[in-house]
Structure formats: C-alpha cells, structure tokens
C-alpha cells in the first residue's frame, strides 16, 4: 500500500476524498487545515514535480525531438503520466455516431500538473444563464455567493491579471491578483490589429507567480482564525519561487511557480498531519449502510490487484466529472438500483465541453524580427474576453453565449513540425534559400484559438457500457454526443472573427476559414473542459446535488469536481472547480460541527 505520508492509515477517517487534482487537492487542503482527518485516494502513481519535471531539457534530449505520440499525445515533455486520450487498460466507448474524447491522467495531482493555468472567473450571467436567455440551466447560487471563494483561491494559488471592470468579466478584490507580465511583441501587435474592430485585448488571468507570494501576510488573511493553519501554509508558500520566464508550464514546474495541486495544495495539507494519501488506488464503488448513508469506498490496489475497503464518515468524489459519475453509476444496491445518488436519473446527464476552433495567421510585420526572448510566462499574457454581450442581448447573433480568444505565437522554442507547410509560403524553397526563409518566417505565425460556452443538452451524456469493463473489472463509460447549432454557429463566428483580426493585422490566414461551424469546431472533449454529469440544482427531482455539491439522496456524499457544473461558460473551469470545492468544504465542516453529517 503506497502511502506517501508518514502516518499509518487510521481505521476510520472523517472524510475520504477520491482524487488529488484541482478538486481533490482543494477539498483536502481546506479540510485538513481545519483539523479534519482526511484519506485521499488517487488512481495514479505518486509524483514529485520537484525532481521529475524536465525544466530546461531541449527537444534534442527527447525521443522524436519531443513530438506527440499515442503514448504522449501532448508531446514527450508533457507532464501527463499514463494517460492522454487513452489510459492503458482503462477504455471508454462511444455510442454510434459519437466521437467524445476523454483526457485522463493517472498521477498525483491529476491534470493540474499539465493544465494551461488559465484562471477566469465565471461572472454573474454565467450562474444564471437560463434566467437571462431561456436556455440551459441556472445554478442554485449567485456569483456573489462564490466571489469570496474566488478571492481565496486566487490568493492561495497565485493568479496574475488585472481588473478591467468589463461586463460579466469579474474583478478580483483589491490586492488579490498578482501583476501581469508585460505583453510579448506579437501580443501588442494583436492588440493594435484588434483596436479598429473594437475587440478588447487585456491581460489574461493565469495561475503563475510573477512575484514571490507574500507568505508573511497572505496565510493569515486566508486563515484568520487559525494561526496554526496560517503557519503551515506560510512554510510551504515560502518554498514557491516566482516564474523565471523559461520552460513550458505543461511540463510542470520544479520551482513551484505555477499552480499544481502537487506543489501548492498537497504539501501544506500533508504538513498538517491530517491527510493520508494512498496512490495507485482505483476507486470503484461507494458503500452505504442500511439507512442509505455512505460508509466508505471500495478500491482496487493497483499493485496487488486486490480489492480494499476504507471507511469514513463522509465521502467526497473529486475524480473528475465523468469519473465521479462513473463511480456513482457503478455503486448500485437494493436501496439505489439506479446507481447511488441518482433518484433524479440525472447522473451522467448534461455533459459539456468547451467549444474550440482556431485559425492560424502569418503576419508580415513579424517577419525577419530581431531576436527577442518571447518565452515569458509560457502561457498567454494577453487575451480577449467575450465582448458582444449587447449584440447577443439584442438578438443580433445566431448563438446565445460567448467565447474568449487566446493568441499564441512569438519566437518560441522550436518544436517538431516547426516549418511544416513553409513550402506553401516559399513555393517549395530548399537549399540556402530555405535557410533564409526560415530566418524570415520564424515567429511570424499566430494561432487564434476560441474557447466558447456550450449549452447543456439532452443528447450529450455518459452512461455505463454494459459490455465493457476495464482491467480492474470496473464497468466503463459510454459517451453520447451531439452539438447543437448554438455551438457550431459560435465556432463559425470564431473563424470569421479570427480571419478579420488577421486581415486587420495585415496578415494572411494559413489554415482553413470555415463558414460551416461543423467543420470549424473541435471534437467533443478535445478542449479537456468536460464538466457536468452530476448536476447541481435547487430541486432534488431534477438535479443530483444541492448548491453545496452535496447529494440530495445521500447527505454525507459530495461531488466537488467539474461534475456539478450546469453551465460551462467560456471561463476555463479549473478556477471555478476550486472555488466551489472550498465552498463545499466549508459547508461540510459547518455541518459536521452541527452534527448534521
């Protein structure tokens, strides 16, 4: 039993947390800091970013120069372990006509080790979309209910950005955000090109430290009534360094400058002495007693391939949206023949991803640029928030929800395929001419990527596939998917807009510009923002969880990952997952004190 903490496992815990990523890490942090005894189960292996991150390794140091392969689909240096679009021995299936892609990883910290660090708050509209335009579902709480937790999470993990006071693009409280890095050259050029189109370009909000966190005062503010928790956090916060403007965040970060559960949440949680972690523990079922209360979970110990059972007063699933739904659907009993917490029949329903589409442009003003270090914070420094709320409200667009734009470019570290397609620019140049053309074109391409809101619909869901189990004997998920016109129309609008921006910059598009959104849109799941499947709501008949992400049917059972989402705004979900997880953890502790759980 590979425990990464020193203490022996207890016979019973207050809380079992399934998963160690954004949701599990945040839940465990919040609980352990307040003295709650937590057992965390992680399906993947232990992972140490300090010793395992390839910080300065070059393409030449990697097989195939680090090119993506089926084994490492985001490239050799991507932090993802035993995962990607497929996990060895752990399949999933698609119903006829479906093509959902499910990115998973099997490592401590989950996908927080490689994620894009884009940390945008959902705004007031995003919590009440149905009230606003009649589509989709409302959340049972308001932005104002969650805002304090956004402040807390941003302060804890460190997020750079600015407060711009834009519509449905919330400001953080004063002193919460870190200063953004200066824009890169190409980002300034995009801003200039966007200006006549009235497309805003502002600093992005990214979970990367641009300066060392104030470990002397921040912990006290985050834990005002708990000096011990503040001291524990301070000791770990002190170990994080500010970004040194090199190496890609997707590799992880050995100096702890960006947010990973494994560098930011788990170290202080472990330091409290209240958190035990078992890795290589694949949870298959939540167990219940005769009264229908959760008693613990069964898991497969991957090393011995034996079934184990652990007990706790409360069970929190934080295994990622679809994985938590899978556990619930596989937790069948005479009391819950339809799967646990599924009296509404909604477990697995309202699966969403983000709408993605991109256009690449070649910009002559960037040709033959003098050498400049564009590495920066690895992630984007600038972005475009959704800017057409008024047109939408006036019915001028054929889709109801917004998207933001991420631009990537600059003179970044050459990667495999760097000059694929240059023959079209150069008419097939080779020889000395090709060398000159490479110097001319390096850094002159910009990719405009849209990330837009999908509206939940009845055709997108997951269920148990009765014909397939994984290598641990656990029945797997089968996905169903169908985009609506809302998403495909939005994707077509992205392409049109990006082409306009590229033209405004004096450039040319070098990838197809589609008028048919079905051709423009990425595959479902491909943006890796899958949320929904254990929906939150105000009515037990139509939702799985209440506003505290607590099961309506089983009151000591919670789901704190992306599963509760009932809308998937264009704001990348990780930050919101953490804010909601912390809010749930506070509710758990308040309920424990009252004796409700």
């Amino acid at each position: 039993m590979p425990l990464i903490t020193n203490s022996k496992t207890r016979t019973e815990y207050d809380v079992i947390v399934v998963g160690s990523g954004a949701a599990g890490g945040m839940t465990a942090y919040a609980l352990a800091q307040e003295g709650v005894k937590v057992l965390m189960l992680e399906a993947g292996r232990n992972y140490d970013p300090v010793t395992e991150t390839p910080m300065f390794q070059l393409p030449k140091d990697a097989p195939l120069r680090g090119a993506p392969t089926p084994d490492k689909p985001f490239g050799f240096y991507d932090a993802t372990i035993d995962g990607g679009w497929q996990v060895p021995g752990e399949p999933y299936t698609n119903a006829a006509g479906g093509n959902f892609m499910w990115w998973r990883t099997r490592m401590l910290g989950g996908r927080t080790n490689h994620w894009g660090r884009i940390s945008l708050r959902m705004g007031p509209y995003d919590f009440k979309p149905r009230s606003r335009d009649g589509l989709g579902l409302d959340w049972p709480m308001n932005y104002e209910d969650v805002a304090p937790y956004y402040d807390r999470v941003e302060s804890l993990i460190g997020v750079y950005g600015t407060n711009e006071g834009l519509e449905n693009t919330p400001d953080s409280s004063p002193g919460v955000l870190q200063p953004p890095p200066k824009p890169r050259g190409y980002e300034l050029l995009v801003k200039k090109g966007c200006s006549p189109l009235k497309v805003p370009v502002i600093p992005a909000h990214i979970a990367i430290l641009t300066r060392k966190q104030d470990y002397l005062t921040l912990p006290g503010r985050l834990h005002p009534n708990n000096p011990k928790a503040a001291a524990t956090l301070a000791a770990e916060m002190k170990k994080r360094m500010a970004c040194f403007w090199a190496t890609a965040c997707g590799r992880g970060c050995s100096i702890k400058a960006n947010f990973q559960s494994t560098t930011v949440l788990l170290p202080p949680a472990i330091a409290t002495g209240n958190l035990d972690i078992i890795t290589d523990a694949m949870v298959r079922e939540v167990t219940i007693d005769k009264s229908g209360k959760a008693t613990g979970v069964h898991y497969i110990d991957k090393e011995t391939r034996r079934d184990r059972h652990v007990k706790a007063k409360i069970v929190v699933l934080a295994a990622s949206g679809c994985e938590s739904a899978r556990i619930l659907l596989n937790s069948k009993s005479t009391l819950f023949s339809n799967g646990l917490g599924n009296s509404s029949g909604k477990v697995g329903r309202y699966l969403m991803d983000t709408v993605g589409a991109k256009v690449i442009g070649q910009i002559p003003a960037l040709e033959n640029c003098p050498p400049n270090n564009d590495d920066g914070a690895s992630s984007i420094h600038m972005y475009t928030p959704w800017w057409k709320y008024k047109e939408q409200a006036a019915g001028k667009l054929n889709f109801a929800r917004g998207y933001h734009i991420e631009f990537s470019g600059g003179r970044r570290m050459p990667a495999p395929g760097i000059f694929d397609g240059l023959e079209a620019q150069t008419g097939g140049a080779y020889g000395r001419k090709l060398k000159e053309e490479a110097r001319r074109y390096f850094g002159s391409f910009i990719t405009f990527a849209g990330r837009g809101e999908m509206i939940p619909n009845d055709d997108c869901y997951c269920e148990i596939d009765p014909n397939v189990v994984d290598q641990w004997g656990i029945p797997v998920l089968r996905f169903h998917w169908k985009w609506s016109d809302q998403e495909t129309n939005q994707a077509a609008h992205m392409h049109k807009t990006f082409a306009e921006i590229i033209e405004s910059m004096g450039g040319k598009t070098t990838s197809p510009v589609e008028t048919d959104g079905r051709k423009a849109i990425y595959r479902p799941g491909e943006i890796i923002h899958e949320v929904g499947t254990t929906c939150i709501g105000a009515d037990p008949k139509t939702s799985v969880l209440n506003q505290w992400s607590q099961s309506w049917d089983v009151k000591n059972l919670f789901v704190t990952d992306g599963g509760p989402f009932v809308s998937n705004a264009d704001k990348n979900p990780t930050l919101s997952i953490m804010a909601l997880a912390w809010r749930s953890a506070d509710h758990i502790m308040a309920s424990m004190k009252k004796g409700d759980l």
Binding site: P54, F56, K60, I81, N372
Partner: protein, 210 residues
C-alpha cells in the same frame, strides 16, 4: 537554476547525442540500461523518465540509405555563412530515429522515406547513370528542382514531390530543433531571467509599434 537532476539529464542526453553522431545512427539501448529513475515505479512508454530521456529502439535505415539521405538533407539545408549543414547538425540520424519508431505516423513516414530514397537513386541512375550520392551539385539540383514543390511538379513526379516535401519537413524539424538550428534562427529563450522585459525598442520599431 536547473537542479542537479536536470543537469545530469542534459549530460546524459549529450552523451546520447555523441553516441548517435559516432555511430552514424543513434545510440543503442545500452545507455538506456544505465540510466535509472530514482524513487518512481517501473517505467513505460506512457510514463517515461522525462528528466533523463532514453531511446529504446534501433535505427532501421541501411548504410546505403543513410548516405543518400545525408546527401539529400545537405542539399535541403546546406552549410552557409551562418550555420553548418543539416548532416553536421545530426539530421540524418534524427530522421533514422523518426522513421524507425513504432507509431503510426512514423511508420507511414518510413514508407515514404525509404521508398523515396530508392526512387531518388533510381531517378539518378536513369538520368545520369550514377548513384545519387555520386552526382555533382548541379545534377542533384536538376532532380530536386523537379520535385521541390508539388503544385508545380509534373504528374510523373508527384510521388517524388511528396517524398521531397516529407524529407524537407523532417530535415527542418531535425535542424531547427537542434541547438545549431535554434541559434541560426535566433531562438534565445530557455534561459532563466530575473524579470521579463517584453520586446526591445528595436523589436517594437521593427513591428511598427515604436
């Protein structure tokens, strides 16, 4: 600012590259056996050691193929006053590594590259009565000009053009992901900096933003 582990990783990788250059192919699996990962479980293709990468497959290209490939790579990216040639940057060994991998994309590329190398030599014999590697620069260029760009190639050179485009892309990847190539095009990142200054005044002026 790299950790000792990282530095070791770089040194191991340099040795690996040195072995690759000397052998005319890339390093055999013996190095892989020496490099171990501390503190983590068994390694696999989906959980490789990222800090000290190893290559666990052998090159499939024959000596004769590598000679043609080397000549072609150096025609695509020759030495000039700013940087060495493709072969001096280890490109043929990289392409051998690439086409020898087990993955579908690389397997497909293997067919194009191997078939193309043989096609190129056949074309050379047909035109000049000599192997490609024995041609003069002008004779080599004579063939390559016919296959340099698919949209302009005659129908009978369609495969040749596809092959040439593939090798040009792979040569560019091999060259510009090497330190020699990075220096050539002026990639100056991957170094820790105390602060990020954004574009220099010179760059801003170049972009028309000054």
């Amino acid at each position: 600012m790299s950790t000792p582990e990282n530095k070791m990783g770089r040194r191991e990788a340099l040795k690996w590259m040195a072995g690759a250059g000397a052998a005319g192919a890339f390093a055999p699996a013996t190095l892989a056996q020496k490099v171990e990962n501390a503190g983590t479980p068994t390694r696999s293709a989906t959980d490789p050691n990222l800090v000290k990468a190893v290559l666990d497959w052998k090159g499939v290209l024959a000596e004769s193929e590598l000679k043609i490939l080397t000549a072609l790579c150096d025609l695509i990216l020759p030495k000039d006053d700013k940087s060495p040639s493709a072969s001096q940057a280890g490109v043929p060994a990289f392409i051998n590594e690439w086409v020898s991998a087990i993955y579908p994309i690389q397997q497909a590329d293997k067919l194009v590259v191997r078939g193309g190398l043989a096609w190129l030599n056949t074309e050379s014999l047909r035109r000049n009565g000599k192997d490609f590697v024995d041609l003069t620069e002008a004779e080599k260029t004579g063939i390559c000009d016919d296959i340099a760009y698919l949209p302009k190639a005659k129908p009978e050179f369609a495969f040749g053009a596809l092959f040439f485009a593939k090798v040009r892309d792979l040569t560019s990847t091999g060259f510009y992901t090497s330190e020699i190539g990075m220096k050539d095009i002026g990639y100056i990142g991957n170094v820790p900096l105390p602060k990020f200054d954004g574009p220099s005044p010179e760059v801003l002026k170049h972009m028309g933003l000054a």
